[in-house]
Amino acid sequence: MNFLAPSLLIGGAAVAVPLVLHFFYKARFRKLPWAAMRFLKLAIEQTSRRMRFQEYVLLALRCLVLLLLALALARPTIRAVGTGGRGEAVDAVFVFDVSASMGARDGDATRLDRAKAAALSVIDNLPPNSTIQVYTCADRTSFLGPVSPRNLDQARHAIKNLELTSLSTDLLPGLAEAHAALDRAAGTQKEVYVFSDLQAQGFDRQPAAVKAKCEEIKSRATLLLVRCGNPDRAINNVAVVDVTTPTGIPHTGSRLPFTVHLKNTGKTDLHGVAVTLEVDGKPLDKETQQVDEILAGQPTTVTLTAKLDEAGPRVVTARVQVDDVPGDDRLDRVVPVRDRVRVLVVDGTPDVRDPRDSGTHFLRNALIPVPPAQVDGYFVRVNVVPADEAGAGLLGSCDVCFLANVPSGNADRPGTPGLSKDFVDRLKRFVKDGGGLVIGCGDNVIPQRYNAVLGSGGAGLLPYDLDEPRTAPTDRPFTPAPDSAAPLSFLEKLREEPFASVTADSEVGCTLGMKVDPAAKSSRVLMRYADQTPMIARRTIGEGEVVLIGTSLDARWTNWPAHAGSYLPTIAMTLSHLTNRAMRGLNKIAGEPLVWTPSEAKKPFEVVTPAGKRVSLGRAVVPAGGTQQTVTLTDTAKAGIYRFAVEGDKTPSGPVFAVAPDLKETDDLSSLTDSEIEQRLGFQPVFLKAGTGAEGEIATERDRREWTVWVLLGVFVVACGESIWAWICGKAW
């Protein structure tokens, strides 16, 4: 039980009055000389116990009357402090769930529409002099207004203009902000309304914190959960989960396949789902395909093709036909399209007489897996140079560099040229600026020298420092373990057939060990041998990445290059990964900040949002701990294409970012039942249903929760009881 006017509980101290009177009265008496004392004493003897009992009952009843009176003045409520009667001014805090699922069409209106209607209805029924503070909440919260909490018209306007986001639900930020808003409310009658479809993840992402915050709100106000949507009604939804390029590196000149990943997140099977693909939003590139059936809860893929004529970042958009939840019907991806990929291969063991004997023979064929006649037209251009010809300038015109069994310096192997210091220095900058580096080992790789030049003692390019070579017994060679391929890494596909079997059949006679340091956060082992020693590792350095392969890229230490079913895809996946890396930062999920490092930062910048609105971002600044000036956009609540531009430029010249909706939101669209919410919160909030006369329920709830009338009735009853008892006892004081 809580009280609307708890200060008046002090009136309960009045219970001391009858107690004091009781004892004070005993202490105050008048003297009377009395003759018939023997009869008086006899009467006292006969009645003292009964008298005492009657006195105490009477005293208790009088104390109870005063206590109940104080209780009534304090205006008890059954659940919360802040609930006033129908006529009491209320300080209301509205928290609107604007996550993508609130866009679900539930009958004629969306859930958000129902929330708006319910909120406006609540405002219309607020008692005079009430205040309102309106917040939106998805996985973050923002204050919508009104500037003056008493300006209900402004609050109505803000509510009418509420917009959906592509964010997922997390009620904690909204609840925390509502709790803070209660501090700013001056009145004693407080109500916090949460307009939401009450999805499970809203409560489950941070369950303990949500529960604690709800309890804090409950202790100071009434928590009203307004259910916007019918939990019994099935929502049909197909989400565009991803768009990938199965052939690796998107390039110009040919029609490329794109795989659109779909998932039916609803509870009913869907038939005839049309999927459309666009490139840069151009209708000419539009292609549509129909999916006959997607089973409930199941994913599926659709392959569509698009012709990419121009190199550079291109926006590929996949759409499905509009269903009940439009928020995830579209997915944009910025795809880096290249005219060609330039690869520099530094060969540590060149053989000018017979290139097939050189150390890069297998590697070159893996990089250009086409017949000799098509090599010139192939989009991957490979430049193989011996170590002594590997000048620093070559790095300026390549995207990825391979070091195949190259000594780290001329002194490593007398007679065998190694990397020059200039080349190493330039290689370091190359990687930091976003280049890809693949290091293959061999007998020219001296661990100590490599560690000193390229490892922790030098350029710091190695994922882990190298250890001494390990040679396998002839009858028990090392074998790669494809199932150890790191999940979510670019080598993850090696776990799948047919790559897994072929990879596992490979034999490695010798390999260099790696001194794995778990503390190195930017490094990671991507694949291991069957004995769990590292085979392939990677390290992120600046914008670029280094991949270290413990064995050779030729047949000197292993027969892996001869297993084309494993070697070729590994090289291809590595090349694709390192090539696309530069564009990876352009694809974001709603809510993630967009950061651009402009080459020139003299003018202020702006961003064109998916809605076509230009938002000023100001000048580029150097972030704390950073070295370069960056422009950052933090408000990416809506999915779509964001284009950075210099302020004043008609055509955006900055990078294009594709922001995808947070698909966690629509992965499970089911709402929690009232009992499930009670179970999670540990108490019963007030449940209301939007669109079903919620305002009436609120008024009833306000009336119902205040016990003042009942307590006053109790005062009356106890007072009557006291009078009757006093009359029965024959003693009216």
């Binding site: 009265y25 005993k26 105050r28 008496f29 008048r30 003297k31 009377l32 000389p33 009395w34 003759a35 018939a36 004392m37 023997r38 009869f39 008086l40 004493k41 006899l42 009467a43 006292i44 006969q46 009645t47 008298m51 009657q54 006195e55 006892c729 024959g730 003693k731």
Partner: protein
Amino acid sequence: MASTLLQPDVLSKAEALGLQARHVVEGLRVGDHKSPFRGFSVEFVQHREYVPGDDIKHIDWKSYGRSERYTIKQYEQETNFIGHLLVDGSNSMRYGDGSANKMQYAKLLAASLAYTVVKQRDSAALRMFDSAWRAELPASSQMGHVTAVCKMLEEAAPAEKTGMGQLLEEFADRVARRGVVFLISDCFDDLDELLRGLRHLRFRGHDVVVFHILHRDEFEFPLDGNIRFQDLEGTEEVVTRPHLLRPAYLRIINAFMKDLERGCDAARVDYVRMPTDRPLTAGLGEYLVRRLQRAKK
């Protein structure tokens, strides 16, 4: 007659009604009251057979002439009585204010009775007591004796606690001559002892009248508030709220009064309750009328 104890209206009424002894009393002279001594006085009562030894002058010759039998003519002797006024002078009689004071009321009653008794040529004796005899005025039928009675009454001040049962027995044993005993008291004493004393008096042949002097507070208990009751006959004090006790108190006091009245009836003792707020004229007058009516029967 200068005493304030003698109020004209009371005396005139009492004088008019007179005070008849209910039972035979023994007196020293011819009076208004029957003497226990049958003899040869003026009022014929009966005949009896002559027996040797009788004085022959009492033989009724007329009867002999008619019946030829010797019969003796007997006459009833009339005498005066002594009205013993036993007045309770214990501390419990101090209760009440002004004219409603029990002691004052008892004094008025005693003086009125003394006057009435003397006025009809009977003798009145006064004894004050509490737990012992405190003052005593021998019997006299002289009118001036009334003044002495009044003087003694006026000088009497309550003291000590009541203990009349033993005193009554002692009195009965000491006073051989039968008379009328007026016990004027609030009777706040051990009831059994009191009744034993009364029975003893009756056994000795006294005509006993108990005037039960009570203040209205004592039998109606109309008290309110928080009161510290101080025992008039002791040091005990009780703090209580009397209105809470009223039913029990009234039940107890009424039972006491009823037992006293019933005990008096059983011992053929006149019991007269005299609330102090009731005019003495009315109270005494009513009793005297009743007594007169009984005497005529």
